[in-house]
């Protein structure tokens, strides 16, 4: 459970909902629903993994990860 409310953020202009982030998120905090990317903040650790794989650079992880 994430008490600090730190969570990955998504630049909606840059995100094209490709799902690469959902594939690597260990916590199921990023889910593609239909054609939309849904973030589930209470599941986000944050760990920085999704931001690393995003092909467009749409994800930013707090703490500079």
């Amino acid at each position: 459970m994430n008490d600090s409310h730190d969570c990955i953020t998504v630049d909606r202009e840059t995100c094209v909902v490709c799902g690469a982030c959902a594939a690597v998120c260990p916590a199921e905090a990023l889910v593609v629903e239909g054609l939309a990317l849904v973030v589930v903040p209470e599941r986000c650790r944050p760990c920085g993994t999704a931001a690393l794989v995003c092909p467009t650079g749409a994800l930013a992880c707090p703490g500079g990860k």
């Binding site: 094209v16 690469a20 594939a23 690597v24 199921e28 054609l35 995003c54 092909p55 467009t56 650079g57």
Partner: protein
């Protein structure tokens, strides 16, 4: 036995793996529900669209002029020092229209009696103990959720799949288990014939490769797939821009395709009680190239066969469905393993080592057959050319027993 369920099987995902599995199970006189979360099958395309030879593809779908964007009649590999290796191989493959390809496979499933629901997404699995008994489904248009029960649930939900994770067969991918990819369909590119091109090197595609797949006269899918851990802070899109500037500077960009492409090793278990995984969701794509269309279709036929047999015996137990895992491991699983080991060695090479290795490989007889590279032969050649690789190779084999 599941009473009052309208379906024997629920298939999650109407890409090639899901549509084919659904069609083949329906043909064994079972009631099948096929769920696709997107409003339209096949759209948007998230693929470089290359498939193998005609006789491989036409086991599943007849190829016609509308499906085929271009034949592939050979390949060109450009290594980091710029040396080019080219080989004509007539009929080695095709670049297809993936949107139409997927729609044809889904249409085939429907004609076999499958019920297809687009805009409906599995949100979880229904379980009774260790047995999966169906899925919790959301109608995305209305937001309402419902339970759909079935003896067997098939997870064919692609690279971002959750259903095999819910079934305990898979963990999230590590960042080095996928290529982060970006591609443009370019109009106005110089193409030396109908060759499929692979460009290697840290500056174009660190830990992966850049490609040019012909889509017709003067048109091609031009893309890059990178290892996110070697990206040096740059995105796939940035690498794509650099590669397009190099390879197709005057070209017009007409369709941007973005995605993650699995290069993970095939799952060690493809089945659980009441559940099987197929296609990219099951890590069945080629760990060296990321290609997965025919792999998905092959996996689908094996899954369908095992599911139909288990249903006939009245038990969708993990043991019965495990026949699918054994069949996959016995056949395609072996080349999946070989490509996985080859990729670990090959993509770990420095630019200089890669250029040198390509020269060595080009001298190996019988490296290629009519279907492409023979992976075990490539691994042996790599190891022979550089004995230190033997230790890496042995290490990756010994340490490589799947954790999943």
């Amino acid at each position: 036995m599941t009473v009052n369920s309208r379906f024997d099987v629920i298939v999650i995902g109407a890409g090639p793996a899901g549509s084919r599995t659904a069609a083949q199970i329906a043909r064994s006189a079972r009631r099948v529900l096929l769920l696709e979360k997107r409003p339209r099958v096949g759209y948007p395309v998230r693929c470089a669209e290359a498939v193998g030879p005609r006789e491989d593809v036409e086991r599943y779908l007849p190829l016609d002029d509308r499906l085929v964007s271009s034949p592939i009649n050979g390949f060109l590999i450009v290594v980091p020092d710029g040396t080019r290796f080219q080989r004509e191989m007539p009929g080695i493959g095709f670049v297809v229209d993936r949107e139409l390809f997927d729609q044809r496979l889904a249409a085939d499933a429907v004609s076999a009696g499958v019920e297809l629901r687009t805009g409906h997404q599995a949100m979880g699995l229904i379980r009774e103990g260790t047995q999966v008994r169906g899925a919790r489904v959301k109608d995305l248009a209305s937001g309402s959720e419902y339970d759909e029960r079935a003896e067997v649930t098939v997870g064919a939900d692609g690279v971002e799949s959750l259903s095999p994770r819910w079934a305990g067969l898979k963990k999230s991918l590590r960042p080095d288990e996928l290529f982060s990819c970006a591609e443009e369909l370019i109009e106005g590119i110089d193409l030396p014939g109908t060759f499929i091109e692979f460009h290697l090197g840290r500056s174009f595609a660190p830990g992966g490769y850049a490609w040019v797949f012909p889509k017709g006269t003067g048109r091609a899918n031009v893309g890059v797939g990178i290892n996110p851990l070697r990206a040096d802070g740059k995105t796939a899109v940035e690498y794509l821009n650099a590669f397009i500037a190099h390879r197709a500077p005057g070209g017009k960009r007409t369709r941007l395709v973005i995605g993650g492409c699995s290069v993970a090793r095939g799952l060690s278990a493809l089945a659980a009680g009441g559940f099987v995984a197929v296609g990219e969701a099951a890590n069945q794509s080629n760990p060296f190239s990321g290609g997965g269309i025919i792999n998905a279709l092959e996996g689908a036929d094996m899954a369908a066969s095992a599911v139909a047999a288990a249903l006939s015996r009245g038990s969708a137990s993990a043991k019965n469905l495990g026949a699918y895992t054994r069949e996959w491991r016995r056949t395609v699983g072996k080349s999946n393993d070989a490509f996985y080991h080859a990729a670990r060695i090959f993509y770990g090479l420095s630019d200089e080592e890669m250029s040198r290795m390509a020269r060595e490989l080009s001298r190996v007889p019988g490296l290629f057959d009519e279907k492409g590279i023979k992976p075990l032969r490539m691994v042996r050649a790599l190891v022979a050319a550089r004995p230190r690789l033997l230790i890496q190779f042995a290490g990756s084999r010994l340490g490589g027993k799947s954790r999943r």
